[in-house]
Symmetry: C2
Subunit: 333 residues, 2 copies
Amino acid sequence: MASREVGVALLGVGTVGGAVARTIAERGDVIEARTGVRLVVRRAMARSRERVIQVGLPPEIATTELDDVLGDDRAEIVVEAMGGEEPAASYLLRSLQAGKHVVTANKEALAKHFAELAAAAHAAGRALLFEASVGGGIPLMASLRQILAVNRVSRIRGIVNGTTNYILTQMAEQGTAYAEALQEAQRLGYAEPDPTADVEGYDAAYKLAILASLAAGRHIRPERVDRTGITGVTPEQVGEARSRGGAIKLIASAELDGEEWRLRVAPEFVPGDDLLAHVRLNFNAVEITGDRVGPVVLYGQGAGPQPTASAIVSDIVDAVRFGVALAPHVAPE
Amino acid sequence: MASREVGVALLGVGTVGGAVARTIAERGDVIEARTGVRLVVRRAMARSRERVIQVGLPPEIATTELDDVLGDDRAEIVVEAMGGEEPAASYLLRSLQAGKHVVTANKEALAKHFAELAAAAHAAGRALLFEASVGGGIPLMASLRQILAVNRVSRIRGIVNGTTNYILTQMAEQGTAYAEALQEAQRLGYAEPDPTADVEGYDAAYKLAILASLAAGRHIRPERVDRTGITGVTPEQVGEARSRGGAIKLIASAELDGEEWRLRVAPEFVPGDDLLAHVRLNFNAVEITGDRVGPVVLYGQGAGPQPTASAIVSDIVDAVRFGVALAPHVAPE
């Protein structure tokens, strides 16, 4: 098989961006042998050029300007690993408009601008891939794409936030209170110093909005999620659930009720005969119910630089090989 | 999006082949809207033409001869749903050699002739897809393909036979003996009148050989599986496992030990903190461990005409759209 060299541009070289660069360096040969695609990091954008050099990338590819990335014809693919709504969402849009394939792990930008980004990808004839935005390295988007090709999906539910699942697991198994379990999660790096996005369910709501938009085929905004966090969960509730053979889990669920999708993130009792009750620590699991395949559950590590970079690099390869056929179908609201 | 009409030929119109024809008829419009591919069944081969007509297909597409299928240029894709090693394996090979994309659910033919079929697909520049061969409608191959693009996979283990899992679940939850649970499974249609292939682990061994061959990148034959069935499992063993919070499961496992893959199908004790212990009834689940993504588990219905047809039709669409890029990498032994 003749190989083709493909240039990649990184927007953001933090934990995830750095792991992507390392994965490409370490697995480039294997990827080339399997797919005929030779990945080369051509550009890396960060707030300062020093940050790029610090992650071991060559100084000559460092830039602080998006225009340098968009104007570089050798960079066919833009990988956005900056996070947050802006400027990431604008950069994603401009990258597609400039004719780049786009791979992103950014749940917030995607959840808030999904239809606009999907339309830009189709208009430009480019791929828009986002496997890492929900469920880290779990092949969730690849699976959902396959199921949606044939099935009507009327329900998606799952555990999509590892931080809160770690806290709830510790409360259940160690008998600790919420505050104590949160501190432990922060100490291990599973929770941020400001844990609001996780413990109040915003992170889960973004991810749920992405999954529901794909199932619905149109943009469902994260503001439509009825959201309750875990800060009010007591050791008594958790203990009682455990004594009944089940567990309290932060469940994100989207369900088609007539013509209307109902989205909810809230702590719920999950009985012991439900697989989700047995998802422990910082793991994630999502159940997709298709009318023909029935319920399918996907489980794995929902975060972490290695699983996330694995999903991103796999997306890069698919974007090169399959292009706009892998742009999502998400109509405006 | 401009649509393209794609002709499909069915080899075999039994339970699975019939379900594929129905799925194409019922979901054709949705598939076309999502993918731009209009599927049309152009040929259907069976032992008699009457069988084709019985499943509601038009008489003029019925044939009993493979040559009619191979010679029909309007049939771009061959779907093999005959089962068994021969003549299926030869038909798969001849279809690829005739320039058809091939989709199959045939675990036995694939497990025994994987390298030969993969080589024929690459030589002809055609897709060879087999999502339904392991785990029914579970998006296992799509997930494995994504994980293998970047990860080294050194372990795959799971519950890949629904019949034996149903029997073991009944033994555990109803306290019945093996023979009684088998009868119940036969009554419900989960077990064949001759249950040997399931209960002696042959079916699981074929599926394991397919998964291991993909992970290894070379053909690992089913004869290499160290195989023990469930006929010797006693109610006492099952009860004792349950009292320890776990379960006895027929576990298929492939593990890389140095340079050597070790394959085994056998009843094993699975502890309660392992997700596989909670896979009940006729469901399947497979754990794939990649060095970057960690353990990923996929769960769902491992059999049944609807889930199987869903996987096959999704494969058909992917074959049309992505072609030889979706031929597996399985070198000779």
